[in-house]
Amino acid sequence: MAVVVYLESQKGTIKKTGFELASYGRAVADALGEQLIGVGFNLQDTKSINPYGMDVLYNVDTPEGSFFNADRYSSTIAGIASKEKAQVIVVSSSADGRYLGPLLSAKLDAAFLSNVVDLPTQYSPLKVKRSCFTNKAFNRTLSQKECNILSLSSNAFGLNEQQGDVEVRSEPYAEATTDLEVTAIDQATDKVSIADADIVVSGGRGLKGPENWHLIEDLASVLDAATACSKPVSDMGWRPHSEHVGQTGKPVASNLYIAIGVSGAIQHLAGINSSKVKVVINNDPEAPFFKAADYGIVGDAFEVVPKLIEKLKARKH
């Protein structure tokens, strides 16, 4: 019996979400008295997982130049999960994690539970807290299956370091079951993505036009933050819709979310509700965002933000 976690990586390096998943998986494995097993693809730094108490790590090599392939990845993970008699499999809530989860669930006849925000409160049958209605509420879900795939909301559990000396094994890459093929990836690798960011800086209509976005970008750059925007901003084409956060856009679960000139429509607030600390800068004291924020400044973004950038830069040096 085992708990299996899928470790996402970029260019061979395990992502921070991987360490969070390992921390969570360790806690689940301890509760069940089982081994914690990781699965990664083309990892070059397998030792980086050591501080998270993992017992075994399957490192799968895929052909050079190949891309993420949800079908082959999920078949490979499902194969390992079957071999190790996994009872719980944990994936992240990234685009790839939520792609793999349902495929794994179908391949293993397991239940899929998305948006998990805490450790299970019981294991047979498994019961766990999840967010629903796009973070407007939570529920306690009881599984009817023996094997369960959990998609853990990012930043919901955090990191938990401990001793470990992982045993690395190899595993063949499963064959494709469909003809779907990734041909190219267009990804800004120089910028931190909303899903991976500790800090997100977001702009709304209050910025008056795309020509003023340097304020958002400069603030994001000094904070190593990702940039985001509200729905009207993306609908008007000021920013790409990949930056739209909210109920119909991306969810944000960062440590710090700074909203500038965003009024705080209920759909926007739902999407960012999982962020730990929220700061709002808006010249309208009646903006609904002030009710959802932890810290706020009532003021003109065009005056406040440049000062904030300057102070943060000075602080860095």
Binding site: Y99, G101, A137, F138, Q144, E181
Partner: protein
């Protein structure tokens, strides 16, 4: 060419969420239901393909009679026919299994689901159905072009896009970007009148138990009041974020 668009009625995005029966059920009183926004982007793309390549567009939902106004709206938007599987589903697994039974009776070349429904956010129906049918699945789909049997697609990933190719049959999980907000079709009077005459078939469900059951709901804890900082006191804000919130 046959396109199936899977529709989920969801509470309007402005809805305040409340629960009843000691927090074991969703309070539907006063809730306005709409087509799940992700499904609507998919339906719009399907109607574009209907006009471009002469595809026949069927919409389907798994739900009770209260879902029929939403199906009629889909017909008014441009779908050719509607199917309602007569079951109030408990989870996405049940929905996917019902759809699988339907897809085994009729061949659909392209099946479109939403990336996720905005109420339960499961995001699993497309993926489950794809594996059960043995066909490919592309979620977070922001581009879909057909050329005969070949399909060119784009999937939104964290911080970018992935380009993919495949062939029909195939399932995609639609989202904003597959069509833009401005492309969404608002039904006109002619569409609404025609929708009344279009077929809406009610299908009996097959027997399948849910994989998960929701036992209890809760709302997020009440938040404390915002701490306001003077616009001139930027140092004060940085100090609070550094020493109190500890996020800098």
């Amino acid at each position: 060419m046959n396109i199936l668009v899977c529709i989920s009625p969801v509470p309007d995005t402005t809805s305040k969420i409340n629960f009843k029966e000691e927090n074991t059920a969703f309070e539907t009183l006063g809730i306005q239901y709409v087509i799940n926004p992700n499904d609507e982007f998919g339906l719009t793309r399907a109607v574009h393909l209907q006009q471009k390549v002469g595809a026949k567009v069927t919409v389907v939902t798994v739900g009770d009679t209260s879902c029929e106004p939403i199906l009629r709206k889909c017909l008014a938007i441009g779908a050719d026919q509607a199917i309602r599987v007569d079951l109030q589903p408990q989870d996405g697994f049940q929905v996917a299994t019902q759809l699988e039974a339907l897809c085994k009776k009729t061949n659909y070349d392209l099946i479109i689901t939403g990336r996720e429904s905005i109420d339960y956010n499961g995001g699993m129906v497309g993926g489950l159905l794809a594996v059960h049918m043995g066909i490919p699945y592309v979620p977070n789909c922001v581009h879909l072009d057909l050329s005969g049997n070949d399909v060119a697609l784009e999937r939104e990933i964290d911080g970018g896009k992935e380009r993919l190719k495949s062939s029909l049959p195939l399932i995609v999980g639609a989202q904003k970007g597959l069509v833009e907000e401005k492309d969404l079709i608002i039904p006109n009077m002619r569409g609404i009148m025609q929708a009344r005459q279009k077929p809406l078939e009610v299908v009996s469900p097959i027997e399948v138990t849910a994989a998960t059951l929701v036992e209890h709901y809760e709302k997020p804890p009440e938040k404390g009041a915002v701490k306001l900082v003077d616009a001139e006191d930027i140092d004060g804000l940085i100090d609070l974020l550094t020493n109190e919130a500890k996020v800098l």
